[in-house]
Symmetry: C7
Subunit: 172 residues, 7 copies
């Protein structure tokens, strides 16, 4: 077989479910979902000395769309904003969960939730969808930017549910 | 392999379940369901200065059908109407859910539900059917038009569960 | 590939489960189930000025069958009759549900159920069997004819769970 | 493809699960189960003016079998007998259910159950096994003969869960 | 295709699950399980005028096995013995259930259980494993011999869950 | 087809799930799991006049492993030891269950559990994993050696959940 | 077939689910997951006379990542640290469980948890994901180093859920 390894793996079906490793130890469905993220429009987050900044490309071609409805920047809480790249309806599910988590934190502890706790919970949900069968991974990268103890924090979670803190980061 | 990429993907089975990404990051079953929408008859929604307007093509060829029964415009609540394109029986399920949501809002808050809340809940249901296995996506696009605080609002939700607000929009 | 599109789709397996769209947006298992309906014997329903009429072809070849037991016209309630085309045992399940619904309406509201409510509930059940996996669609078209506020009404529900009101209609 | 349509459908796998329609609208697994019935030994039921009669071919080749244990005629209740053709262990499950239903009727209403109610319940169970996945259809035809209001009644239920009343009938 | 029908059916996959009928109405997985029974060592049961007798071939080649531990004759109750042919660990599950049933009968009715009731319950369990998916049939034939009202009774249950009473019988 | 029967069965897929019989009545996944046992390092058990003895080959090549942590002989209770061959992590699950069973016996009956009861419960668990789908068989043979009423007893349970008592036995 | 045995097994599909043994008794999906571990960056653990030491290669190429957020050494409890190689988001799930177990031990017994108890519970979770279907194995090796009774202990758990104690060990 002289075919490139990619084509071989596709023909042998290693890329048909998210719960199958290739002989080299890759999860191809997860890698394909990362392509979905790159198909989306871009967002940039910056951690500045006096706050956080997110820039997002709305990329609306249709002039009949009400621009405000094509938002790419979501308010999770008064101290937390987020942007995404990838499948917008998948992202909305995660943003909804983040908003609920944030309100629960305020009710339980009477204090704003830490940005890292939000990104960790979101990332844990994403991880589950790469390990259990019967569903596909979330096709979305997500940035959360916020203020914690007067300090700016910027986090990005990828498809696999891995996340890092960044000084500055771009997705999409 | 000199075949077009579409045929290749069909032959390799990337389009057999809604929960599988192609190597390029597409969800083919979802794209096929969008074809179903385009096979349906058209509806047009307009947001006017003093209200909202939905026009729908009933497309009844059978003169023995009672025309009123072939409605394409549904009343969700006294301030909310809707039209759809695609599989009519799928749409009916979603319209039923919208009507229940609307009544629950009146009972709980004693006020008409916001049009965006309806379209968001409907879109969240649609999103689930593109992510979890064991069922097919809803084969229907849905427009919701209504009045909120004396202002006209028009929303359209696509197959993936993504939605926008429009000044004017056509589906089907 | 010079084969007709039908044969191609069969060979590529788009017609193996009810929950799979073809690249053109069709649900082939549902279309095949419609063939089952056409294999059945015919029924005709008419909405007349002073009532409703259903004619059904029993098509009994076996003279040893007690003719009354091969009924094709079912009484759902004293103001509602029904006929079907397709798999008779599938239809019996739906007729049973219609009879229970009808009695529940009398118990709850002390009034006869509206014919459209019956056909809508039956159609919603059918729709589910075209969207969720693990079962096959109901192989049956069903006509419900009845009296509502002294006016005759005739409805027919197809395989997909879509329904219309008719002045007159034939199935099978 | 010049192969007969039967062979084509077998090669394309339309006959692998009970929940799949062929392009012509047939359910092949159900038709195969009917072959199982014809492989069984025969039973004949007659509705006479003063009672019902069932004749069954035990077909015991093994002289070491105690003949009484190879019964093909089952007593469901004092007014109801039954015979079957097909997979005997499948039939025993259905006979057990019929006996329980019959006793429940006596306990609840203090009267013998109507023969048609028995055959209808048995047939409803059979229908489910032709519509839902994860199990195979019951490989058995079943005759129920009994007395209702001093009148003889004979019913036969086929593989699909369809049933008729007969003046006389043979299965197997 | 000039291949024998057996090979054809194997190649077409009719023998891959216990819940699939062949075009001739056979259940091949069940027939294969019967081969497992014939691979086991033999047992013989006799109904004598003054009791029952079971002879079983232990077939132990390994002299380091403690002979008593390789028993092929099981005591279900003081009036009931059993022997099996096929997969010994499958049989142990059924013997365990028989012992529990027997003790429950003594507790509930203060009398020894009838041998036929034991073989019927065991056979009903076996039948389920030939009809429902997600498991394989029990690979075991089972003889139950016992005393009822001072009379000897010998029963044998096959793979399908069918059973007969015998004057004398051999399995394996 | 001139291929050996092994290769034929592999190509026809009879060895893909533990719940499928071959045409000859074998369970190939179970037989493959037995190969796993033989890949493991060996253990020998002896029933002596004054006690039981288990010898196990730890086979540690890595000098950085703390030897005590590579134990192959497990204490189930003060009168019961065990050794295994095959997948060590599978064995640990079974040893854990054996330890719990043993403690429950002491709590309930205030006496040491009989060695055969332990091996029987472990074997019943193993049997289930060869009959039900959705999991693989335990890839482990297990010896249990202990004292009962001052007499030494040695038992070995194989992959299928079958077990014997031995004077002496080796696994792996 | 002159292909190497690896390629043969891949073509015959023995490596498609984690719950299938090859004819040689291997679990290929588990072996592939071990490749994933080797793709990760390395960690080294040492058991010293006066404590434990873990060194981990963070391998951050992106200078915009906040270095502290790319930690590879996790604190499970004040006496327990851990490092991992493989899929970082999988590891986070296991670290979370370890932290909860550790706190539960302090609450229940008012004492620090033993390091071996942590590694055993984590390994039991991993074992389950190699035996039950519907999910993939955890793609992560995990080292746990800690102090027990003033003595240093270092444990490593591999993909299969097997673990050893080490004087010193490297993963990745």
């Amino acid at each position: 077989m002289d075919m490139p390894i990619d084509i071989q793996h596709q023909q042998m079906g290693y890329d048909r479910t998210a719960t199958m490793f290739t002989p080299e130890g890759h999860l191809l469905q997860v890698e394909y979902a990362e392509k979905t993220v790159r198909l989306g429009s871009s967002s940039i987050a910056l951690s500045c000395s006096d706050g956080v900044l997110i820039l997002a490309d709305k990329r609306i071609d249709d002039k009949l769309i009400v621009p405000e409805s094509a938002q790419k920047i979501y308010e999770i809480d008064s101290h937390l904003i987020s942007s995404i790249a990838g499948i917008v309806s998948d992202a909305r599910v995660l943003i909804d969960k983040a908003q609920v988590l944030s309100q629960q934190n305020r009710l339980t502890y009477d204090s704003p939730i830490e940005p890292e706790l939000i990104i960790k919970e979101i990332s844990n949900i994403k991880q589950q969808f790469t390990q259990y069968g019967g569903a596909r991974p979330f096709g979305v990268s997500m940035m959360v930017a916020g203020i914690q103890d007067n300090k700016p924090r910027v986090f990005t979670s990828d498809i696999t549910g891995n996340y890092f803190e960044y000084f500055a980061n771009a997705i999409g």
